[in-house]
Symmetry: C2
Amino acid sequence: MTTDLASHLDRDAARAELFDLLRIPSVSADPAYAADVVRAAEWLRTKLGTLGFAARVDATAKHPVVYAERLDAPGKPTVLIYGHYDVQPEAPLEEWVSPPFEPTVRDGRIYARGSTDDKGQAYAHVRGVELLLAQGDLPVNVKFLLEGEEEIGSPSIIPYLQEHADELRADVILISDGSRFAADVPTITYGIRGLSYVEIHVQGANRDLHSGSYGGAAPNPINALCEIIARLKDEHGRVTIPGFYDGIEPLTEQERAMWASLPHDDAAFAASIGVPALPGEEGYSVLERIWGRPTLDVNGIWGGYQGEGSKTVIAAKAGAKVSMRLVPGQDPERITRLITEYVPQIAPAGVRAEVVPHHGGQPMKFRTDSPYITAANAALRRVYGRDAVFARTGGSIPIVAAFADILKTEVLFVDMGLNEDAPHSPNESFAVQDFENGILTSAYLLQELGQA
Amino acid sequence: MTTDLASHLDRDAARAELFDLLRIPSVSADPAYAADVVRAAEWLRTKLGTLGFAARVDATAKHPVVYAERLDAPGKPTVLIYGHYDVQPEAPLEEWVSPPFEPTVRDGRIYARGSTDDKGQAYAHVRGVELLLAQGDLPVNVKFLLEGEEEIGSPSIIPYLQEHADELRADVILISDGSRFAADVPTITYGIRGLSYVEIHVQGANRDLHSGSYGGAAPNPINALCEIIARLKDEHGRVTIPGFYDGIEPLTEQERAMWASLPHDDAAFAASIGVPALPGEEGYSVLERIWGRPTLDVNGIWGGYQGEGSKTVIAAKAGAKVSMRLVPGQDPERITRLITEYVPQIAPAGVRAEVVPHHGGQPMKFRTDSPYITAANAALRRVYGRDAVFARTGGSIPIVAAFADILKTEVLFVDMGLNEDAPHSPNESFAVQDFENGILTSAYLLQELGQA
């Protein structure tokens, strides 16, 4: 099949509809937006219905799942396209140049919360299907599974997958929710990191204290929290939690060589985020540290007086949100248990420290030699004019382990975004060209899979 | 003079008027309350005017000063009574049982921001003067100097003292802005700690980053800030800033013996603030650490995502407010300079750390054998039925050094409060009995000074 689909792509309509979806503030982490999350699900159901899909919105214990299927290709493979229509919180709001839920194009990029993570990429698949339908029937059987809880760890998805396992059966699951290695380097991702996310709470006195009357004698929970956090890593950039590195699958020589050959430059990478150095685990390159080694980062910290001016107080309590990215061989529940036991042991005298768990996610690694990978590479070659590279991603997608366990189906990652999209940051964006290339990649990929 | 003034004290009127003053939210640290600060000054001027004082409100570069004098005792000593009518910010508001600016009596205590620090104590002197005036003329010449910037380091007071040095001349300066050692232990304070207050700002990348895409390679300013703070003290409870302990006046054997004989109990002290231990500088008792040794405490810390749920972000920046209580021999400006130079040196690779100074305050120590001390002890004996103890305070009162330098006048501290008043905390309070005893103490003290 050699039809050039690009000339048939209605770019304006695709963009206008994506904007409609981006305008819905479907923030899953904040209960105040629950109704908007439902609204986004309904919008997608309606759209897929217009494309001839049997589409429905299924309620869950929290946010709904959109399921749609069009099974018109007997004897052909079945492709399950997974994405999420929920988005990260917009905070800090004051740092957005244009409003997070009013999509704005600047310099060829669509600025909005969710433009790249994940609405732009998920909707590119919807438009890819629409593009193929304008040419005739779909070359494969297509199912869409679009959830509303990915940003909060997909708490409802396991029961959902178990309940609908038969209906969700497919030959391959297609996911686009990340970044290409570089603008001109199409990328197939064959691994994701896992996640363990906790909060550390430190309690000092039973009330805030005057630092003159009590300073030097009363324990200070903020100083203590800092000591705990500082003790979680050593001077070699390694996490000190006992047992943390047990069982980690080492990087293979092939991986290290493959990644070392990628067009990555430490100085350019550092300059792109405006830092003078890239500290991390000794003995590993930057790509190895992001794709193949675990980490520990404090995502937020609070305590005491944060307002204008000075206040000489010894706060009663302090806290921090801490997350660890994990790699194959590490189990998120075990890691959470290890840090839960370790923190009280390393807390200084006089304070009480406890760990409260949040959601986790399994690390995963896939085969790089399947017919699905071959089809994906062919599709990417058509759009980008070169072969794809194979990379792992530093991010976590909790549902992928659930797909492997419950649906027993291989996952194919073809990411459309770029690091500079800044997902999870203010001024998140998605290049118009990447959105359009994503639509084309999706369409070509389904064509290639129809011939696999 | 043996008149029992207690029977002449109009307790209801005194309390009602104190409540009026407490209702004015004279928060000096927050520009939003500037008009209320002025209103409190005017209220005091009016009150002192009704007592026959020549009273006025003097504008400064920031908050006004109330000056009042009644010089009816030729040949008698002149007493300058200093206090402050500004108060700490009320945050965290949600922890107050009754509103901070609606004085409420519970269990014999007046709950309001400023009830003990310092309105209740300063106003007790006004009522003490009023009590004496009801009996006849004042036994000494009395001047009131009430400022509105003590909680923010009194930035305008030095120029004010220099400009009005002649007018403010006195034989002794009387200050009540702290705590007795215990409820039944009248206390004369002969030393105060100094203060160096700074903010530490740490900058990582030029924007918030996705912790999956960048975790393991990008510097994390929150982790870095924690490391910096953890490095500011060692495992013996000592501050690590080079030169920090230079020139400190050691505690005398007499002081150590005197304080060791006070009715202090570590276990009771710890239980009163609900902590299992009282960590601090090794080799020093709790009282020695609070009254005679320097400290370093983090008063507030912030960075990253503090909201509900989880957000996997590597923040672009983080910060903390850090203050050090100082003792005689340490100069606040030098200490601020030392930490400003030290922090960037101990910052981990990849981040930029800088120190921004806030206000400071000089440490001070006074003679314990003057006629003023003798008079104060006599007054306290009349009210409490026993001699006073001599203690230093852990707090800082920046103006005291200015009094010594510019007015060259000795300071006499007679504090009316108690530690459980919880100044600077939510639910600050001042016992009704302490307020009334303070009024009597003030009146008796002026009588004793009139005979000194």
